[in-house]
């Protein structure tokens, strides 16, 4: 741009709302039609961007690798993974907890921030929710694969089988089945219901006959009647109100899988809140990882503004401190409990053979983000926030590694100690789910409206109801 040397960038000045001194949620000068055009054009163009194809190719290739890894797993069994005694949980459970945690930010943005009337969330809620669903898809796979005989996974459900065996409802692993399956179902329903009016818009804006039919069917015949909108708004609020206790319960129940066991390092009462905060921390990091390239490549800077990046940085700062409190409490309780096993576990976690993983986690989750996210300049610096999002995602993966592996591999009697080393199949499965996630997300961006148009319209100046507008419009 010309005049880039000028200190006071007029482009930047325009982004700041003089009333609040904050970045604007939506850049000025947008109308109902311009917003609609902008969002539908991304989907309704017949040409697919080359960059999309390239990244989809990479994601698809990695997802194919996942298929290879899973085929071999089905043929050979879980022996191809690094899991052994005493570390029987390994990558499968690490990845399960990591992925499902990522999903939590999507529900937080779409449900909890809706209840708190944080309207800045509107621009990012749809793709954050899509992220939730695809993360749950990746997460849900792992416990089933970890069963050893995944084709018997349906035994988890209370269904009348010929051998009349029923599930054991006193086990947190069983609770998990219900928490995760409910979470997946409600997330999909909430996401779809949110898209119905936008499908109506897509149907009406589509050029090709096929797109008209496809979006027409998806829109369920939505026509925007205010009676429909009233029920729709009630249902959305109720779904948000239901998703809020749900999302808090999901990672709580997952933490029960650990906390109910008697193992040092797992058997603590701090786990439920600490898991939920960690989930939101990593989830916001993932939203940033996705939002930053998306707004750049699809030129959505006017809808996903610095305000969103800034606010997400603040949420990460807050949840990061809850996570830090969790880490601190673990260390404190290891000492304060007076338990020899607890103290040894903590020492081993920090300075044992796998101590490096603990320091990676401290660096990535505490040292880098919690010192820098205080600065507004850094919070609104796009490259820095992208960097931080990757750092926190890495750190949160290591947190789960530390919890699962370093608690298990040296528990009580030294004669029962072991070690853990992931195999290439472990890595292929993990990287494969990253590919699957990427591929699914790209399909979403290409075929579905990634920003909720009806919610954006509500925030535009045109939606304000003025007393004397009729006189000027009816000239």
């Amino acid at each position: 741009m010309a005049g880039s040397e000028v200190k006071h960038d007029p482009q930047l000045e325009k982004q700041i709302d003089p009333a609040t001194g904050e970045y604007r949620v939506i850049a000025p000068g947008q109308t109902f039609r311009s917003v609609t055009e902008k969002i539908t054009r991304i989907v309704l163009t017949p040409t697919t961007p080359l960059g999309w194809l390239a990244i989809f190719g990479v994601g698809g290739a990695l997802a194919t690798m996942l298929l290879v890894a899973l085929t071999w797993l089905f043929l050979e069994g879980t022996g191809i993974w690094g899991i052994t005694q005493p570390v029987a949980w390994g990558f499968a459970i690490i990845n399960f907890v990591w992925w499902i945690g990522i999903g939590h930010a999507g529900t937080l943005i779409s449900a909890i921030l809706l209840l708190f009337k944080q309207s800045w969330r509107n621009s990012i809620s749809r793709f954050a929710e899509a992220m939730t669903i695809f993360a749950v898809v990746c997460a849900g796979m792992f416990p089933v694969l970890h069963l050893g005989r995944p084709w018997l996974g349906y035994w988890l459900f209370p269904i009348p089988l010929t051998m009349t065996v029923w599930p054991q409802f006193r086990s947190p692993l069983m609770w998990d089945v219900f928490a995760v399956s409910t979470y997946a179902t409600i997330s999909i329903v909430f996401w779809y219901i949110g898209m119905v009016p936008d499908f109506g818009t897509m149907r009406d804006r589509a050029e090709s006959k096929f797109a008209k039919y496809a979006y027409g069917l998806c829109s369920l015949g939505w026509r925007g009647s205010v009676r429909h909108w009233a029920r729709y708004e009630t249902a959305s609020l109720l779904l948000a109100g239901l998703a809020t206790p749900l999302v808090l319960s999901v990672h709580t129940v997952i933490s029960f899988d650990f906390a109910v066991a008697v193992l040092p390092g797992w058997h603590t009462t701090i786990f439920p809140p600490y898991f939920v905060a960690g989930a939101i921390y990593s989830g916001f990091a993932m939203v940033l990882t996705l939002a930053i390239p998306l707004r750049k490549f699809y030129h959505l800077e006017e809808l996903v503004t610095e305000r969103h990046i800034d606010n997400m940085g603040k949420v990460m700062l807050a949840t990061g401190f809850i996570v830090a409190y969790g880490y601190f409490m673990e260390v404190f309780m290891a000492w304060y409990s007076g338990s020899h096993w607890e103290a040894f576990m903590m020492w081993n976690r920090m300075f044992g053979p796998m101590g490096w993983s603990y320091w990676v986690l401290v660096t990535c989750n505490l040292a880098i983000p919690l010192t820098t996210l205080w600065s507004r300049r850094l919070r609104t610096s796009i490259p820095f926030m992208f960097f931080i999002s990757i750092v926190v995602n890495t750190g949160m993966w290591f947190e789960r590694f530390v919890i699962v592996v370093t608690s298990l591999y040296r528990d009580f009697l030294p004669s029962a100690w072991g070690t853990y080393r992931a195999t290439r199949w472990d890595y292929m499965t993990y990287v494969g789910t990253l590919g699957l996630f990427t591929a699914l997300f790209l399909l979403f961006v290409r075929f579905l409206p990634m920003i909720p148009m009806s919610e954006i319209r509500m925030m535009l100046p045109g939606a304000r109801i003025t007393a004397k507008k009729a006189a000027e419009a009816g000239d």
């Binding site: 109902f32 015949g221 205010v226 249902a235 419009a473």
Partner: protein, 180 residues
Amino acid sequence: MAAREGIYGLLAEFETPGELIRAAQQARKDGWRRMDCYTPYPVEEAAEAIGFHRNKVPLVTLVGGLMGLVAMFLLEVWISVLAYPLNIGGRPTYSWPAFIVPAYEWTILFAGLSAAFGMLALNGLPALYHPLFNAPNFRDGATTDKFFLCLEALDPKFDLAEAKKYLLSFEPVSVVEVEF
């Protein structure tokens, strides 16, 4: 859908939500009952203006949630006490605190599904056909940036010429006849 003959109603198009709300309020005051507004985003005031204040979605959700709660809790009790009792160290088979979590999840599951599908059912959706889509200006505007008021032919006050004149008094962008 059964093909019906004649006019479904008269559709007036407005540029702003304010004009729509004033027109709808006036029409309601003048005794119109069979009418509806169509907007590209939720306009609560318009629903109020045509006399739509409450809806049954919360009730459906409550009933659904209670059904989920009861269903799962009874299922757990039946399985753990009657169908497949497991004696683990002599602990009671009716260990209700352990049953809370799945029952809680199913409360949310059933309530959420009831809210979503109940809303659609009360709205009469999915609908494969609606006469309004026959209006030439409806599809370009109703889901993008225009605000519509439709006086339906079923209203006892409805008379094509009279109603058209009435709607034109609100100075809309256009008034069109909608056929079935």
